[in-house]
């Protein structure tokens, strides 16, 4: 086969995948629009998410430098302070996943596969010219650059210490934040001042305030979990001021409480749009996600960055702790307190069941599921582990399991 033929075939495959990604996205959006709980206030978030599948178009429509980042450990506030736009490399497209199947190991995490496929499907998109930040969370993230054959000159690694409560680890992570700041300064050729960081923190504080209200609505089972996922997923692609304004408008809608649904807690691997299969199935089974600790959803804001004064060091320290100590990523070694937050929400929200979502190939959450199952069952909570992929073929099987889980929770409710 001549190089020309290979190139032509690759272009055809790129075109086909891109087209399929668009169809997949449009189908999911259409499904949301057809739901009885659809409100037009969700549209701005869907528009933002449209670009989450096309980094080329995303780059064209923003007026600043784009930096791609894997995982939420890279502080969003620093990117905002540097006036660069972050593009979170987390893709939930099944079509994109297919594109990368040939170049990655068979049991690769679907999110990694999908993100790789999404990048490969872009025409005239030189991966080696993109700025990328990799916090060293799971093995897939650590090895991703090598897997994709990217040039390391444009990338920045953040060495994440896997101990949360250790003083040395905290200091190390703070150093990593300073190093990221320096790297960003080199990109934008401008220093990031104390005022820039403060303004960015303030912008995210405002967002956190609105986000807290959104969570309240969710606890009262007034909003759909698919909508919630759409809103939280959009955060890492949107301008924060715009996101806050749109969320502020969304929460003003007079939602009604859905008393007939059974509240559940969702934990585990991230749920990335357009793959909201599990959320849709849970809602179709007359259950409602009242809370979660998924890093792409409720934990996208682990809390506000509280600073002791407005000096650069104090602001950086606040950010460092917010993205390290307050993070509940399963890759941390001393992660016992992750359960505390969950149990607190379960108690306050009178939630009796936990559904644990594991993406096939996502090893940290798979390991975590065993630990959580044992602990939660000891405390008297019902636990259901759903191991799935981006495929749609296992939907019926999941529905059956969810139905059985709902019956169990219903019985507990009756007994109490």
């Amino acid at each position: 086969m001549t190089p020309n033929t290979v190139n032509k075939r690759l272009q055809q495959l790129q075109h086909k995948t891109k087209h399929q990604i668009c169809i997949e996205f449009e189908d999911q959006v259409e499904l949301i629009r057809q739901q009885p709980d659809y409100i037009s206030e969700i549209e701005p978030f869907l528009n933002v998410l449209k670009y989450s599948l096309h980094p080329c178009e995303f780059q064209q429509q923003i007026n600043s430098t784009m930096v791609m980042a894997l995982c939420i450990q890279a502080p969003l506030e620093l990117f905002h302070a540097a006036r660069v736009r972050i593009f979170k490399l987390a893709c939930g497209s099944f079509a994109a996943r297919n594109m990368a199947t040939r170049s990655l190991p068979a049991l690769t995490c679907p999110m990694i596969k999908s993100s790789t496929g999404m990048l490969q499907s872009q025409n005239n998109f030189d991966l080696n010219r993109q700025y990328m930040v990799f916090p060293t969370t799971c093995d897939w993230v650590v090895k991703w650059r090598e897997l994709t054959g990217m040039d390391k000159r444009q990338t920045h690694y953040m060495d994440l210490p896997h101990l949360r409560e250790n003083e040395q680890s905290s200091n190390k992570w703070l150093e990593e934040l300073y190093s990221l700041k320096k790297w960003l300064e080199a990109i934008v050729k401008k220093s990031i001042t104390r005022k820039d960081i403060f303004k960015a923190i303030k912008a995210y504080m405002d967002a956190f305030r609105i986000f807290s209200k959104l969570i309240e609505l969710r606890r009262q089972q007034r909003i759909s979990s698919v909508h919630f996922a759409v809103i939280t997923n959009a955060l890492t692609y949107d301008n924060i001021e715009n996101w806050t304004a749109c969320t502020g408008r969304y929460i003003l809608y007079p939602f009604h409480e859905k008393k007939e649904s059974i509240p559940i807690f969702l934990a585990g691997s991230p749920i990335i749009f357009p793959n909201v299969k599990l959320l849709t199935l849970i809602e179709a089974s007359s259950m409602r996600v009242a809370a979660d600790d998924i890093c792409s959803m409720e934990r996208v804001f682990p809390g506000p960055a509280c600073y002791e004064d407005k000096s650069e060091y104090a602001l950086m320290r606040a950010l460092s702790h917010r993205y390290h100590r307050a993070c509940i990523c399963p890759t941390f070694a001393d992660n016992e307190r992750r359960l505390n937050g969950m149990v607190n929400v379960l108690k306050n929200g009178k939630i009796k069941g936990v559904i644990f979502h594991v993406l096939k190939g996502c090893h940290p959450y798979d390991i975590e599921s065993v630990i959580m199952e044992n602990k939660l069952k000891t405390l008297g909570y019902r636990f259901l582990k759903i191991e799935t992929d981006y495929v749609k073929e296992d939907e019926q099987n999941i529905v059956t399991r969810l139905e059985a889980f709902r019956q169990t929770l219903k019985q507990i409710k009756k007994q109490s």
């Binding site: 807290s212 509280c306 004064d309 307050a326």
Partner: protein, 310 residues
């Protein structure tokens, strides 16, 4: 909100304890806070001065305790407990005038955007015994005067090196405590030490919030009796996610509240009840200050988001 109320309380207390005497108010001489007796026209003063005057001899008999001399030692202690018991260490965070002075200096540093000096956990642990050493010395030296003929120039040893002695009288227009006393070697040593400590502490207070509180013997004394008080600082360990806000926001960097995962009681040795940690805790009811079991203030996610708006 809580911080504003606290600041108002501190300012009212400052006016009352520094200028109260001029208004005819005097709360006595057994207050559990740094209200300095060297301030002309003060509205009450620190118990540590009376404690240093309790020169009880070792030959004391049971009858002595109920004699006039004995009551002169016991009665101030009873009054101290009467003041201390209802509020416990909230006296430090909410009413102590010297703490307010430190807060003013911190405010200047914050306005200038200068970073705070951060001590490691190990350093904090090493500094902790100092306040108890000072407490023991301020009791032992007067006992030595009473029993071992130590010269009376050694009287009031802590007051003579206390940084509040030269600083607080300044607010009443008295600058005379910034001096060296050449009367004899002991007085010269005390005044020289006082100047060095005051200078060092002023620098320390500028770079480290509530720097003096790390060494305050009154805080140590109050911590010993904290169980007598109905004030409790509790943590719901099952709700703490370990975000570390409490440690970072704490003026004296108490790390035990963040790390504690067994005991409910987190009223630590250096805690002065300023409630900064409760304000910054994102967990609902995870940290709470209680009085006779009644919750005075507890943490909440909503409060935190609203506070940050301000």
């Amino acid at each position: 909100m809580v911080n504003r109320v606290r600041m108002i309380c501190q300012h009212i207390s400052f006016v009352l304890l520094i200028y109260g005497g001029r208004l005819g108010i005097h709360l006595g001489s057994s207050l559990p806070c740094f209200a300095c007796p060297f301030v002309n026209g003060c509205g009450g003063h620190c118990y540590l001065m009376i404690l240093q005057r309790s020169r009880v001899g070792f030959q004391v008999t049971f009858d002595y305790l109920f004699s006039r001399a004995g009551l002169e030692v016991l009665w101030p202690f009873v009054v101290f407990l009467l003041f201390f018991v209802p509020l416990s260490k909230l006296w430090c965070g909410w009413l102590c005038p010297f703490c307010l002075f430190q807060d003013w200096i911190t405010m200047i540093r914050k306005k200038l955007g200068i970073r705070e000096m951060i001590f490691s956990r190990k350093t904090h642990i090493r500094l902790r015994p100092i306040k108890y050493i000072l407490l023991v010395l301020l009791i032992l030296i007067p006992l030595c005067i009473a029993n071992f003929n130590l010269h009376s120039d050694w009287a009031l040893p802590f007051c003579r090196i206390c940084p509040a002695k030269p600083i607080l009288p300044m607010f009443a227009g008295n600058f005379t405590h910034f001096h060296l006393d050449f009367t004899n070697t002991v007085t010269l040593c005390f005044t020289a030490l006082s100047m060095v400590i005051t200078g060092g502490l002023l620098v320390g207070i500028f770079f480290k919030e509530r720097f003096f509180c790390l060494f305050c013997p009154m805080l140590g004394l109050m911590h010993i009796f904290r169980r007598l008080s109905p004030v409790r600082f509790e943590k719901d360990i099952s709700g703490c996610t370990g975000c570390g806000n409490c440690e970072r926001i704490c003026p004296v960097d108490i790390h035990e509240v963040h790390l504690e995962n067994e005991k409910k009681d987190v009223f630590m040795q250096n805690c002065m009840g300023c409630m900064h940690c409760v304000e910054s805790c994102p967990g609902d009811n995870v940290l709470s200050f209680k009085w006779f079991g009644f919750t005075l203030f507890s943490s909440s996610r909503n409060y935190l988001s609203l506070k940050r708006k301000q």
